[in-house]
């Protein structure tokens, strides 16, 4: 199992944002995390990536305990993510955004950079080749010199995924990748996500409100409600579960 989480919980003051959360994701799976607004989905991502330290619970990544590690350590261990409200390096070029994702995989010292020693040129070239390959996948290669803040919205979301993939993660977390996209863009994004899974043999956990996307690409789902797992299982079964429908429509 790539990701195995048990008993995960955190409180903010009196609010129990996530409680007794558990999930198990196999290598290569496309897994969905859904739930009404404020259910605690993003908080789960923040717990998995070390933005918040869990009050209790255990997170195993590919068998290694990563509970309580810092964001940086967790990324190095193999989890990369995108954000619900896009967080690009907005005054840097599209290419540089991806190259920053490559930061820990291709290295030369600051001094080598200042003195422009051969290793600088060699490594930069490797980084460029790698980054451009990724941009190609996301159809962003022609815009590599563009400042990322000048990209249209849909492409910004894609760039964020490319940047996350650049860290060569074992597990990719996508927080509402289709938010703000029109149906066309969403369709295209679904293709891209599927392609990423197949091409990079990536394991993906995604949060999404767009049920068409969820039903279209996720193999299994976990439904979160008021911070705890409501239902989990095969996508089709979960989406037809009366409890899930009730949670989404509200009880009255």
């Amino acid at each position: 199992m790539i990701l195995s989480v048990n008993d995960l919980g955190i409180s903010f003051g009196g609010l129990r944002a996530v409680d007794d959360f558990h999930i198990g994701i196999e290598q290569g799976e496309l897994y969905g995390l859904i739930g009404p607004n404020g259910a605690g989905k993003t908080t789960v991502f923040n717990l998995l990536t070390g933005v918040y330290r869990p009050d209790e619970g255990k997170i195993l990544l590919d068998g290694d305990d990563i509970t309580g590690l810092s964001t940086i350590e967790i990324n190095r261990a193999g989890i990369a993510r995108t954000f619900q409200n896009i967080r690009l390096f907005k005054d840097l070029s599209v290419l540089d955004n991806v190259k920053i994702g490559l930061h820990n995989r291709f290295s030369y010292s600051t001094l080598e950079g200042i003195l422009r020693l051969p290793n600088y040129f060699r490594t930069e070239k490797e980084m460029n080749v790698n980054a451009e390959e990724l941009l190609e996948v996301f159809g962003l290669k022609d815009e590599k010199e563009t400042l990322s803040k000048n990209l249209p919205y849909g492409k910004q979301r894609k760039l964020e995924i490319a940047r996350a993939l650049a860290t060569a993660p074992k597990l990719l977390l996508l927080d509402e990748p289709a938010a703000g996209m029109n149906p066309n863009e969403t369709g295209e994004l679904m293709e891209t996500i599927r392609f990423v899974r197949d091409h990079f043999k990536m394991t993906i956990l995604l949060i999404e409100h767009d049920m068409k996307l969820v039903a279209g690409i996720c193999e299994r789902l976990t439904v979160l409600n008021f911070g705890s797992v409501l239902v989990e299982g095969e996508t089709e079964k979960v989406l037809n579960d009366p409890e899930v429908i009730r949670a989404y429509l509200g009880e009255d």
Binding site: T49, V51, S70, T71, I72, N75, R76, A80, R81, F83, R87, L88, F89, K90, D91, L92, D96, K99, I100, G101, H103, N104, F106, S107, Y108, T110, G113, I114, L115, R116, Y120, T123, E124, M127, R163, A164, A166, T167
Partner: protein
């Protein structure tokens, strides 16, 4: 050899400095420059160096520091201390200056590092205020301390004291350090400015620089891709302090009497350097150099106009601000600026190449 667009831009910046140097040298040799103007040349360079160094923190790292005059002060005093101490030891002056330069730069780097540890945890206004305070502490400390040696050994105190027998006062309280050898020159200053430019620009265009700018643009995202925010902040701040220290070395070896006075090392100087950075364009290294040069020389050249001097200076500030930051002016530059001109020329050349 093929250069990237960025490398070309950086080489042009160095070219501007070199061209300025050649122009000034020729004018000076042919006697077209007043003594007053020639006296401004070294200060112009160290303010340009200081502005580039501050831009590394303000523009590239995205943190506001108001303590850079303090780092200049450390560079100035530590290097002068060395130069004065070994003045009569027979050390050849270029070597002496080189060692002084290394000492001043390293001492400023050390203080940058030490101050950075607590300070870089802060953000925005807090960081600005605390760095300002540290700068003032450094300056006030150095203007109050007495340091000397005699037969009985080395003495340091906050009170003035008498030396016994053969001895020498190194730092004499508010009177500072007397008799620093005048090892700075315009040539040395320009060389140091060019080295500074190379160092800062090469950092910016490297893996390190990208990490620093990533922190500036989005700290949380930077952490999410595994960038060690604390260590890159420390690195940027320390390098910046080191370069400010280097500017201080130039300063102190351009004056025989070095005092830690507000005129040279107070927070107003830090703010003046910040004005250079802001008006030159935050994050624009070339802009910092040009703004420092223009804004330093201008008020000095206007001394004759006494009362109107600051009025003209203020107008120039406003005009520069408009030229640099007005959207219309930016669009104009993109269309008709030198880079656009070169780009068009290259494109045309490419076309001609295809035709033939």
């Amino acid at each position: 050899m093929k250069f990237t667009k960025q490398t070309k831009h950086d080489l042009i910046t160095c070219g501007i400095v070199a061209a300025f140097y050649i122009l000034v040298t020729i004018l000076s040799a042919t006697g077209h420059l007043s003594n007053h103007f020639r006296g401004l040349l070294v200060p112009l360079c160290y303010y340009a160096i200081a502005a580039v160094s501050l831009n590394l923190v303000v523009g590239i790292l995205g943190d506001l520091s108001l303590g850079h005059a303090g780092f200049m002060c450390i560079g100035a005093f530590s290097s002068s201390l060395f130069s004065v101490a070994v003045k009569n030891s027979g050390l050849p002056s270029p070597l002496r200056f080189l060692i002084a330069l290394v000492i001043g730069t390293l001492m400023a780097a050390l203080f940058g590092f030490l101050i950075g540890i607590p300070v870089l945890r802060l953000n925005g206004d807090y960081l600005a205020i605390v760095t300002l305070a540290f700068g003032e502490i450094i300056k006030n400390f150095l203007s109050a301390v007495y340091l000397g040696y005699d037969e009985a050994g080395i003495h340091a105190s906050f009170k003035s004291f008498q030396l016994q027998g053969e001895g020498k006062m190194l730092i004499n309280g508010a009177m500072g350090i007397q008799g620093t050898p005048m090892d700075s020159s315009f040539t040395v200053a320009v060389l140091l400015l060019l080295i500074t430019l190379a160092v800062v620009m090469n950092i910016v265009n490297s893996r390190t620089g990208r990490a620093i700018m990533a922190i500036r643009d989005n700290r949380i995202a930077a952490e999410s891709v595994g960038i060690n925010v604390t260590s890159y902040k420390m690195l940027a701040f320390t390098v910046s302090a080191a370069i400010a220290g280097c500017a201080g070395v130039l300063f102190s070896h351009n004056t025989t009497t070095l005092t830690a006075s507000s005129t040279y090392f107070g927070y107003n100087v830090s703010i003046m350097i910040l004005v250079y950075v802001v008006l030159g364009g935050i994050g624009s290294i070339r802009g910092s150099v040009i703004a420092a040069a223009v804004l330093y020389v201008l008020p000095e050249m206007l001394r004759g106009l006494s009362t109107y001097r600051m009025l003209i200076y203020s107008i120039v500030l406003i005009v520069m601000m408009l030229i640099n930051w007005a959207p219309g002016a930016i669009a104009f530059r993109e269309r008709y600026g030198i880079m656009a001109f070169l780009r068009r020329r290259n494109e045309n050349r490419g076309k001609e190449g295809q035709r033939s």
